[in-house]
Symmetry: C3
Subunit: 107 residues, 3 copies
């Protein structure tokens, strides 16, 4: 068995949790902070069979992969004059660590 | 040494923490959520010698093992008429993952 | 790659987080409790290359090592009569577990 630690942005965490549990994976969710600004994110701990690790990673990737989004931005080009235009920002992203489990017990 | 991740229900977490520390184990406690409903539970991280893993698992099991409990329930059997009867529910339960520690430092 | 779990006292956690991130380590921070009194502490999860583990441990140690501090204390030596004197207390301290990572993904 493998223990998977997956760190995803808070924006994506409920989608990731929903899909992992609906695909019958046992998931534990932690409120964490991280990155340069120690912003809120979510860490999932998932214990699973060796041959299901690819599926877990695929599900997490599908719902949290780094992607660009167009968001409205604005700039002033004179006193009291503004223009609005879309700007590309990066959102999402997941960091995943897989560790070997030596022993597993369900009591 | 081994690193033990143990997920127990919140109902049992203070008993488990109390007994692990009174038996001199070094315990770190995390507030987590999990299961189908992402309900609150508790994850313990315990670092211990290889030959103490069985004792840790025994202590956790003794205080959090899955068990049935009779709880009062009620049903209506007519307009404004209720009957109360006991219902068996499952409580507790622990999921335990044991991982090998390559290096341990106490600074 | 290695996964490092480091438990430090809350007093030292922001210094440790700041230095780890400024040295370009990827850090996830968890609010945890631990020790005999289940007092608040902080657990860091750090994924890093094998040859950087020593550097991570050195940074954590530099900013959280167990040390003594003189704090003011007071005792009464008669009805309504007090004396103030310094007392040595232990502060800080870090517990570090290093675990092998079998697979690492950044999505
Ligand atoms: Ni799905
Ligand atoms: Ni006991
Ligand atoms: Ni530094």
């Amino acid at each position: 068995m493998k223990l998977i630690f997956a760190i995803v942005s808070n924006d994506d965490s409920s989608k990731v949790a929903k899909h992992l549990t609906s695909h019958k994976f046992s998931v534990t969710k932690l409120a964490t902070t991280g990155g340069f600004l120690m912003a809120g994110n979510t860490t999932f701990i998932i214990g699973t069979e060796d041959d299901k690790v690819d599926e877990v990673i695929a599900i997490i990737g599908r719902h949290s992969k780094k992607r660009t989004q167009m968001v409205p931005s604005s700039a002033s080009y004179g006193v009291g004059m503004y223009t609005s235009f879309p700007v590309e920002v990066q959102v999402g992203g997941a960091t995943i660590f897989v560790v070997d489990i030596e022993r597993f017990e369900k009591l």
